[in-house]
Subunit: 107 residues, 4 copies
């Protein structure tokens, strides 16, 4: 399943919960979604707070899914094509020579 | 392009940088990747530190790509099928009735 | 110097920049401060993205200061006595027996 | 109570739990503490995930205490004088003129 299709499934879910409607308990604003993304990323990090390996694979998978869904939604409401952004990043970084600076992101 | 294909592209890139090799400057351990995911999520959040809308769409897209790549890599090294995890989460949450608890994640 | 005094110094600074005023570029709302705290915590984490020891002590000290100031401000605008909260937490946790659950925070 | 005294109280607690000992369940390494700081900062952020005001002041106070304790411990094990770092930051930033760049931290 490609990113666009997963994004559509995510939209169906958000719509079904009424979160796109006025007075929604979870307004799908870029800022709210960026906040949510950080919160969920920290829940993943918690699996590794004192250890190198996660103990609960199912919980980890569930939280990776949470991050994915917020990421898809944030890209969507921001009008960003996530697949294109990823491919562009891979292309740019493949061309760059690495000087060992650890602040550079993975891509 | 589906998740598996993007994951392969990501692996090609990581491999080309030598990060899978012994003595790598960026060991692709689950913990390192979880840490990186949080760092990049915060870089996205920075676009919204004092505002509701991001000012620099290209930079935002680039950072969404960074989060995506770390997410794909973390799922991969953890042996988690990200697409399945997302679909499972959507199914579970569609079935749940919402009681308004805001700590519940999006999915 | 105690927490109250550091908090006063922080207020003086924020006031001098005009951030308490209407139309401020950095409205000192609890939410904005919580967002800022997370952003700065991630900048600290970046020193340890791929390593166990930070390489740049001055930069680390500077970012620990950033987190401290946002923490003081968030406690202040939320009407929370940070010193009391810390002492209460230490007291509560000293009484608790630990069962090894790693999700428990330090205190 | 000043920062040094709170730091001592924190040390007493950590020592009493055996976390300084070999084979500790919670090795007090800089990296582990930086990870913990980010995790706790995100728990604070969760109070503001969809709202501007926190609903549970006691829980918020408890989590601000958690961040404070990890911050004190991280400064301590890193050999950083937190009070000096804060005063230095306030002095530096008071001297700077602000150009409106929102990436600048509070201090």
């Amino acid at each position: 399943m490609d990113i666009n299709e997963l994004t559509e499934r995510m939209h169906d879910f958000v719509r079904s919960k009424g979160w796109y409607e006025a007075g929604s308990k979870r307004p799908q604003t870029p800022r709210n979604l960026a906040v949510s993304l950080s919160i969920e990323a920290a829940e993943i990090l918690e699996h590794f707070q004192w250890r190198e390996q996660a103990q609960d694979q199912d919980a980890l998978a569930s939280e990776l899914a949470d991050v994915t869904l917020y990421l898809l939604q944030l890209a969507s409401v921001s009008g960003i094509d996530l697949e294109q952004a990823v491919l562009r990043k891979l292309k740019t970084n493949a061309a760059r020579s690495w000087d060992g600076g650890e602040s550079d992101p993975l891509p």
